[in-house]
């Protein structure tokens, strides 16, 4: 269908038909929203003209919120209720947060994901992120004075399944239709590559506030293929701030005891670090313990503090080059992304490693959101250059626990997604009727060193001798990088299967409850919103189906075509009414009734590709 919606060259689609799709960079320190307008991707400003929304949410009590700059200004005054860098806690448990002692929050250890106690009760990082997303969504809707068709949200390439699932949950909570999760470095490569008409092998070095990613991509006629990716989901510019704060407090010979002190020290450290990107020396100044403290800080000292962290990024770069089996000299350009790459030390060391000057002619703050917007526009079917295609990989291997606490890898890291792989297992004991399946993610040999994603049991295996049962476990990773696992007993013809979502994801019930409790975006009636969304979805399905019939109706017999026409009519009728559930049911029936048609169209598409016809010739 995407093909059919491409307009004639030189013709812009009817603005009323155009779908508003945005790209969102949900960052650790700040977030942005961008969209393609008049054929060009641009970041959308707020009412005051600011592009960057600090990723800070302050809970005021009584349901009030401050989001962005207003919240950031209050972070030292009200640290417990002002959540900064929530992205670092997405999909994490308390034990995962190594530096929790140094952070000014009251963490709550809860199953699945850590919580943060505020004056409005315990908030999950998902809820905090949803506030930021809802704020950006509002900004976009105000900019276009229209509802959004959907959004592409970026995540660090190195985010594991739990972190991706948490991001997806946050989007749902914010009332955004998620078109796709894409990796930040891939988004940066899209924005950069399309701008510069680049071809060949490129590296994207992305050092953000809280995460580090390094990706190698092959750019070829609009196809962005991730060759290998690596990094560290808990390493970023914030860690440099922490190092500076610890050093400065030691110099000033004062401990930071209160949450406010800790926050003030971090704020001062960040300011000093940023000043030292252009100056050789500066003063670190903060009010600690009620008194103004001041410490002299030079760039040389900052670089000594930052060096071990930068070295860790360089080790990850070397590992990715090895994974991809490419020489440094084959890399044609190194794109720098993320605010922390403004540090001269980072630029210098990365340039030295690759033996070439790094590319800094893109705005490191905006490039990720711009790339996401370009992809969102293409996914919404607005794009005229229909050749843009991202082929991403999973950054971390997926496997199962086997006897002795060892990991059996099922899908290796750097495998292109979507991917599915099955592995057969058998029973260990005579008469065994159940099997525990433990899904893990990571590169280490021992289960204890990997991240546990999900556990479930396959029951109802018919009793057999040990080793006689054949249990096939299938891993599937979709285009968002999200995993689902199914297990089934094959040996006897008796089948039992179960599909799990990793335990970090919020359950549908939890999401429904959070939506009920209300967000800053949802002061409007939830029922009215549901109806509107159902109608949009119905319209989307009808348009898509009509276009498909117009293009490939010849693939159908008369009876099949009439059935689809009837379903179309039924869904149009339902959409004219005001029963959201009836609309959903009609849309579902339409989707089910066109599945066979969709398969026929896909087959035709494949045959054309095999016949060697290029897209531009069709």
């Amino acid at each position: 269908m995407a093909l059919l919606q491409i307009s004639e060259p030189g013709q812009t689609p009817d603005p009323h038909q155009r779908r508003i799709a945005v790209g969102i960079d949900l960052g650790t320190t700040h977030s942005l929203v961008a969209a393609v307008r008049h054929g060009v991707a641009e970041c959308l400003p707020d009412a005051q003209g600011r592009l960057l929304l600090p990723s800070v949410v302050r809970y005021l009590g009584g349901g009030g919120r401050q989001i962005g700059e207003a919240a950031r200004e209050q972070q030292a005054a009200d640290p417990e209720n002002t959540i900064v860098s929530a992205k670092r806690f997405m999909g994490r448990r308390l034990a995962d947060i190594a530096d929790r002692e140094r952070l000014p929050y009251q963490f709550v250890d809860q199953p699945g994901m850590v919580g943060l106690a505020t004056r409005e009760g315990v908030k999950t990082p998902v809820e905090v992120s949803a506030e930021i997303l809802a704020s950006l969504r509002q900004r976009a809707e105000d900019s276009f004075d229209a509802d959004l068709f959907g959004a592409v949200i970026t995540v660090p390439a190195y985010f594991d399944d739990a972190q991706r699932q948490a991001t997806k949950d946050a989007a749902e909570l914010a009332g955004l239709k998620l078109l796709r999760l894409i990796s930040e470095p891939t988004a940066a490569a899209v924005a950069y590559g399309l701008d510069h008409g680049s071809e060949g092998l490129y590296a994207v070095y992305d050092l953000g506030g809280g995460t580090f990613d390094i990706s190698l991509l092959r750019l070829h006629q609009g196809v962005f293929e991730v060759v290998a990716t690596g990094g560290d989901a808990a390493l970023g510019g914030d860690d440099i701030d922490q190092a500076v704060a610890a050093w400065s407090l030691a110099q000033a010979e004062v401990p930071a005891q209160t949450a406010g002190d800790k926050r003030a020290a971090l704020v001062a450290s960040r300011a000093a670090k940023e000043a030292l990107s252009s100056d050789a020396q500066t003063r670190w100044q903060a009010v600690i313990g009620g008194r103004e403290r001041s410490v002299e800080l030079t760039r040389v000292q900052l670089e000594a503090l930052a060096r071990p962290l930068v070295d860790r990024t360089l080790a990850a770069v070397r590992r990715v080059l090895r994974d991809a089996r490419v020489q440094r000299s084959e890399v044609q350009g190194v794109v720098m992304v993320g605010g922390a790459t403004r540090m001269p030390l980072v630029r210098q060391l990365v340039s030295e490693l690759f033996g070439r000057e790094v590319l800094t002619n893109v705005n490191p703050d905006e490039v990720v959101a711009l790339g996401a917007a370009i992809q969102a526009n293409a996914l919404a079917g607005n794009s005229r250059d229909g050749e843009l295609l991202l082929l991403d990989v999973i950054a971390l291997s997926l496997g199962l626990e086997t006897m002795g606490g060892l990991v059996e890898r099922v899908i290796e890291r750097n495998t292109t997604i979507p991917v599915a792989k099955a592995q057969d297992f058998t029973t260990f004991k005579d008469g065994q009727t159940a099997m525990a399946i433990h899904v893990v993610q990571g590169e280490r040999e021992l289960v204890a060193d990997c991240r546990s994603l999900a556990r479930f049991e396959l029951r109802g295996i018919p009793p057999m001798a040990a080793g006689a049962a054949r249990i096939r476990v299938t891993f599937q990773v979709d285009a968002d990088g999200l995993l689902s696992v199914a297990a089934r007993e094959l040996g006897s013809g008796v089948e039992a299967s179960v599909v799990v979502k990793p335990s970090y994801g919020l359950g549908d019930e939890q999401i429904a409850r959070m939506l009920q409790e209300g967000f800053s975006h949802a002061e409007s009636d939830i029922a009215a919103r549901a109806l509107r969304e159902a109608r949009v979805e119905a319209e989307r399905m009808q348009l898509a189906t009509r276009a498909a019939l117009q293009a490939d109706g010849g693939l159908l017999g008369e009876g099949e075509r009439n059935e689809i026409e009837a379903l179309l009519q039924a869904s149009a009728q339902a959409a004219a009414g005001s029963d959201a559930e009836a609309i959903d049911a009609a849309v579902k029936a339409l989707a089910g009734g066109t599945e066979a048609f969709a398969a026929l169209r896909m087959n035709q598409g494949i045959r054309q590709a095999l016949a060697g016809r290029r897209l531009d010739e069709v």
Partner: protein, 173 residues
């Protein structure tokens, strides 16, 4: 075109070991342009599911075809000589002897340089075996002998992985 067509048919390539890598890559990109779920993001879940199935199938075939070892094993299977790596571990004595010498050399290596020298040797051996495998499959059509070459290559590849791990350890320390 069906999901269960063999990899070569799916990619429209001749069923042989020698593969033009640039052509393989081009066909992979072309196929993904057609079937990737992103191409159908504006459509309903039905198309998404079908697209996902095809995209998974195309990636599976690509992974198998682009790796000479897996491609060789696949051709053996298609020709009726499955590899059976778990049950069939009988290898020629000379080959096993060589393996033992390599293992000892790796255990004794105390620095990066000797390990890298060993790595070069192993890469040479792998290249030779791959050339032999190609001749067995494409010229002599001897699938049984080819399956044995594949089993030998699996040993060599596993040892190559151990070398990589050792090099990583040196780098980390």
């Amino acid at each position: 075109m069906k999901l269960d067509d063999d990899d070569f048919t799916l990619f429209g390539l001749p069923r042989r070991f020698a593969v033009d890598r640039a052509e393989l890559d081009r066909r992979w990109r072309d196929l993904q342009q057609r079937v990737h779920p992103d191409r159908f993001a504006a459509e309903g879940s039905a198309a998404q599911r079908v697209a996902m199935q095809w995209a998974v199938r195309v990636n599976e075939a690509y992974q198998r075809l682009k790796d000479p070892l897996r491609r060789g094993a696949y051709l053996c299977e298609l020709a009726g000589a499955p590899i059976q790596a778990e049950s069939n571990t009988a290898m020629p004595a000379a080959f096993l002897m060589q393996q033992m010498q390599w293992r000892e050399a790796l255990d004794d290596a105390s620095g990066t340089a000797p390990v890298e020298a060993l790595q070069a040797q192993v890469h040479d051996a792998e290249r030779r075996l791959l050339a032999e495998l190609g001749a067995l499959l494409d010229d002599r059509q001897d699938a049984a002998a080819a399956a044995e070459a594949v089993r030998a290559l699996m040993f060599v590849r596993r040892f190559g992985d151990d070398i990589e791990r050792r090099l990583e350890q040196f780098e980390a320390s």
